[in-house]
Amino acid sequence: MAKRIDVSDLDIFYGNFKAVEGVSMSIEPRAVTAFIGPSGCGKSTVLRTLNRMHEVIPGGRVEGKVLLDGQDLYAKDVDPVGVRRTVGMVFQRPNPFPTMTIRDNVAAGLKLNGVKNKARLDEVVEKSLKGANLWNEVKDRLDKPGAGLSGGQQQRLCIARAIAVEPQVLLMDEPCSALDPISTLAIEDLINDLKERYTIVIVTHNMQQAARVSDQTAFFNLKATGQPGKLVEIDSTSRIFNNPSEKATEDYISGRFG
């Protein structure tokens, strides 16, 4: 049930400061779209507008349209809480709930939204942990605290927690930047499996990673600090990395810049 996202003329603000300007793009379903670009260019900001997490920050607001299979996420009658159930998110640093066990962490999204049926919860926990390639490592210690896992395991726990609520889209904000290469590989393999079922958008600073995991790549850039970030181009990953249409993209990819 993966869905397609269409962004048109999106301006993003922090208070009066325009952080990102004029983003228009289409994100394909059942594919991985990578956002790359220098620090501060607004890629994470754009990502956070896709599930209305941007407005959690005081002063955060948005102009323009984000359509999820044709439905405007920013229409007046849309509940941001509902949007976030449909569009899940994994963060840069693993953030399991410290008071909860591994089992409760995975079930948190359902439990906190009122699901009480224990058999159903157990089933979801197993399915999600298997989906996140973590089941074999933790199946014997589901009632231990989630914070006791290693960094890479914690991140996969967070992915399991995100897919347990069965979102249509999964947003990942530099999910591997706090992990070692082996854990990174595990997450990348997982992303490859997950794209069969979900629309995935990943922000990354690692261009090899973007090249390895994504089907489509968007390059963001900004003219100078204090200026709004812009989408330079979005295209298939092979084109972006081999034959980009913009000079700025080529400079960035080849390391002559940024």
């Binding site: 599930n51 997490m53 959690v56 005081p58 809480v81 509902g82 949007v83 976030r84 159930r85 449909t86 899940g88 998110m89 963060f91 640093r93 953030n95 399991p96 709930f97 410290p98 008071t99 948190a108 999204g109 906190l112 939204n113 967070c158 927690r161 995100a162 609520v165």
Partner: protein
Amino acid sequence: MTAITNDFPRDHSLAEPRDLDLGGKSGGRALKNSIATFVMWAAFAIAVIPLVWILVTVAVKGGHLILDSTWWTNSQQGVTARREGGGAVHAIQGTLIQGLVTALISVPIGVLTAVYLVEYGRGRFARTVSFMVDILTGVPSIVAGLFIYAVFVNAFGFQRSGIFVCFALTLLMIPVVVRSTEEMLKLVPNELREAAYALGVPKWKTIFSVVLPTAFSGIITGVLLGLARVMGETAPLLILGPYTKAIATDLFGGNMATLPTMINQDRDQAVTLPAYDRIWAAALTLILLILLLNLLGRLASRFSKV
């Protein structure tokens, strides 16, 4: 204009090998060190001597009474100042009951105020609330007592009773609970809130199911420390809570003994009378009670997850 080059002006003297001079401890610095150390220890001793003195005095003068089991089982009913015997159970009960009821009123108000200030409060109203909490922190306990007296006894015509003592103590406890809870809530990483939002959990549910449990042990510590503070308060009790020698547990009518008022009761008796020793024993009991709460508070903070 000089062209920018990579050639920094090089001071070649730096590169030449020099004798390594780590220096011995020079006399002047060693002396300063000794003086500073001495001053530090002296300050520490000055701070600790009165504390130890009080504890020892109270323990020596009251210790023998609280070791007697009747101290923990009997009241002072029928015991005059000239007679030995009797216990403090009436006062201990009163202090615990009033402390508990005070906590039951202050904790929800204090914790919810802190939740408002940290999670929701923006703009002028939040600043006003925060400022009011600061002011409340500075209100002397006798003013809190007089305020409740003026409102409930003078204006509404109620009799003085235990519940009004609790009201006055609540005024003193709320700011302590608000401030400590606020600090604990601020320690909860924002990432946890965002993680819950990203799962489609509404904000209020995030606060109750993720933020408050994460800060729970810290909040408990703050509550116990606040409780320890108000249980030693005396001024509001003198104004609102008349002493009685009998066991009395009715907060809504009649007199009710507490440890501070028990201490106050016999303080002008002659040093030779048995009542005099009971003052010290009551003081020791109060110190032990508050110490116990403090220890519980520390214990709770040890299990803190933040």
